[in-house]
């Protein structure tokens, strides 16, 4: 193993070196802090370093801080060598990021004992890294598996569905009543299989944390009205009353519309399945201050107390007798729970056997994203705001680069729309500043520019990652789409 010794005192450095070489270590030595940092900043730097605290140029503590600030691929174990011995000194050395310390003058025995501690920790670190790498590989395998399943199972289902429905529609020739009945049953079962595949994929996506949220402004009442009308027919056929109890005012929220629809769909179709003729299914939405409270109640068979905890687990149908109509997959509630939680909400149930069941869930109200628009032309800012107006964003604006950087730091916007030609500090410099600052480095940026943008220069300011560029005049759809795309990438 390679160990770096940074010590300005010649005698002490030689003693250290001799002692380590004797034990078979590969030793690199230096007598000042700057050189030590030069060695440590490299990717193939020694895994362990013994740094003297007091050194000319740059002291050990500073080297230590620099090493810790740099995100390196592997961990460096640092032992601080110090003649200072007060507990404050030791605390300072450890707080700067060193892992251990040795007081001068040191004994060879203690030195090697401490190095051995370091080796144990490096070994653990190494094993951890390998595990993480392996887990990443598994994660990728899981994703690959998902897309494989999605493709390989769906294709034959699509063919079966297509073929059977084609025959049912009489396109392949006349069919008689018996054949029609058989084909209809077949189609129902193909659809059931299709739903099962879709649900399984959804569950896998939720479990793998691969559900991408596309939040947008939605009126929850409108979503419910849509669901109401799409289930009305099924309810009437079964002789069930479907009721929507909605506030008069719209209930706007920043949610993923498709996912909220799916939550309601799963709950309503469940309720309809377990409610007998003459019963009622009620969808209710209430606007609370910090959240939206939704519920789907039925006057159905109810769920016994023992079964309630099992309710949200996969494939639990615990023998509830289903009515006529299509069968469930046993995954609907698991999916609903995953999607509610993805919205930062909760889902729970009240039920009484024989009386009915109510599923409650909340949707957390999330603040609308704040967008910083930077352009030296006021009317350009107005245009961009107008283009984005439908999305219900909040806007802050700046006419110059320095102001933009300042605003970005203080207001932490969710996104920045940046013009490149700015007075004072130009766009490249603004990006450079933003990317150097911990507070602003992760804010996504969209560039608007009337001129060709120097892609290489851009990439170099952004750690080699591309920044989306929209050419002026900006097309409203391009802008809306890009903004949505960038805002939809949420941390898991």
């Amino acid at each position: 193993m390679k160990i770096l010794i940074a010590e300005d005192d010649d005698i002490s450095r030689r003693m250290l070196e001799a002692s380590l070489v004797k034990k078979g270590y590969d030793v690199v030595t230096t007598s000042d802090g700057k050189q030590a940092w030069e060695v440590m900043r490299k990717d193939d730097a020694p895994k362990m370093a013994i740094l003297d605290w007091m050194m000319p140029g740059m002291d050990g503590v500073e080297v230590c801080r620099k090493v810790r600030a740099k995100k390196k691929r592997s961990y460096t174990y640092i032992i601080m060598l110090t003649a200072k011995g007060s507990s404050d000194d030791i605390a300072e050395a450890l707080n700067a990021g060193s892992d251990d310390y040795i007081r001068k003058p040191f004994s060879a025995k203690e030195l090697h004992a401490r190095i051995n501690v370091g080796r144990r920790i490096l070994d653990l670190q190494n094993r951890l890294e390998k595990t993480v790498k392996r887990l990443r590989e598994y994660d990728k395998l899981k994703s690959d598996f998902l897309s494989m399943v999605s493709h390989e199972l769906r294709t034959p289902i699509a063919v079966m569905r297509g073929g059977v429905s084609l025959c049912l529609d009489g396109i392949a020739g006349e069919i008689n009543e018996t054949q029609r009945e058989i084909l209809k049953d077949t189609l129902d079962n193909i659809d059931r299989l299709g739903r099962l595949v879709t649900d399984l994929l959804d569950v896998s996506k939720i479990e793998a944390g691969k559900v991408i949220m596309r939040r947008d402004s939605h009126d929850i009442c409108k979503i419910v009205r849509k669901i109401h009308s799409s289930y009305l027919h099924e309810a009437e056929e079964k002789g069930i009353k479907l009721v929507s109890d909605l506030p008069k005012k719209e209930v706007k929220a920043y949610v993923d519309g498709d996912k909220v629809t799916q939550i309601f769909t799963n709950l309503v179709s469940n309720a309809l399945r377990y409610t007998k003729e003459g019963g009622t299914v009620t969808i209710k939405v209430e606007d609370k201050e910090e959240e939206i409270l939704c519920s789907v109640s039925d006057t159905g068979v109810g769920i016994s107390k023992e079964n309630i905890p099992k309710l949200f687990s996969k494939f639990e149908q615990f023998g509830r007798v289903e009515g006529p109509g299509y069968k469930g997959t046993g995954l609907g509630l698991t999916i609903a729970k995953g999607l509610v939680e993805r919205h930062g909400g909760k889902i729970w149930v009240d039920s009484e056997v024989g009386k009915g069941t109510t599923f409650w869930f909340t949707l957390k109200k999330v603040e609308y994203p704040k967008i910083l628009i930077v352009d030296d032309e006021q009317n350009m800012i107005d245009i961009i705001e107008k283009f984005l107006k439908e999305g219900d964003y909040r806007f802050i604006r700046s006419g110059d680069g320095i102001g933009a950087v300042e605003l970005a730091r203080n207001e932490s916007p969710s996104l920045i729309v940046l013009d490149m030609m700015l007075p004072g500090m130009n766009g490249y410099e603004v990006i450079g500043r933003l990317k150097q600052d911990m507070r602003t480095k992760d804010i996504p940026i969209i560039i608007t520019s009337a001129y060709e943008v120097d892609e290489d220069r851009l990439k170099s300011t952004n750690g080699n990652a591309a920044i989306p560029v929209l050419k002026k005049p900006v097309e409203p759809e391009d802008l809306q789409y890009k903004v949505k795309e960038l805002l939809s990438v949420e941390t898991k």
Binding site: S150, H151, R154, T155, A158, V159, G162, S165, D169
Partner: protein, 137 residues
């Protein structure tokens, strides 16, 4: 519908069974249908022109659907032709890729044919309306 009024649809799809069904469906709905089971073959057919709409699978031998779509949409001669991606994959990445390569619609194969037909009709109508606007000039 007079045969000269019939719209021409190209389907590029490597699953023969699905292709056959789609062809029958579309012909029954009054379209003239040409097919290709291989990517490159489909792309050169598309380039010969004369199609009002193209239906594309994603995973194709020879040249994949994304590529075909992108090449068509980046060509002034063909970009106005609506392209529907009809695939059995429905991960978020797939939909995003489809949009990125300029497809006009992304439909999962298990979707009911009536819905597919509805999209086809809408896309064709959209095209006609822009053609009308161009007429007086």
């Amino acid at each position: 519908m007079e045969s000269s009024d019939k719209k021409n649809v190209l389907i590029i799809e490597d699953n023969v069974a699905f292709l056959k069904i789609m062809k029958m469906r579309l012909e029954a709905a009054g379209y003239r249908v040409k097919t290709a089971q291989e990517g490159l073959e489909g792309f050169s057919l598309a380039q010969k022109g004369g199609f009002d709409l193209i239906i594309l699978d994603l995973m194709l031998p020879g040249m994949d659907g994304h590529r075909i779509c992108r090449l068509l949409k980046f060509d002034k001669k063909f970009r106005h032709i609506p392209v529907i991606i009809l695939t059995s994959r429905d991960l978020d990445e797939d939909a995003r890729l489809a949009r990125q390569c300029g497809a006009d619609a992304f439909i999962v194969k298990t979707t009911k044919f009536e819905v597919v037909l509805d999209v086809i009709e809408r896309l064709l109508k959209k095209r006609e309306s822009t053609e009308c606007i161009a007429e007086p000039m």
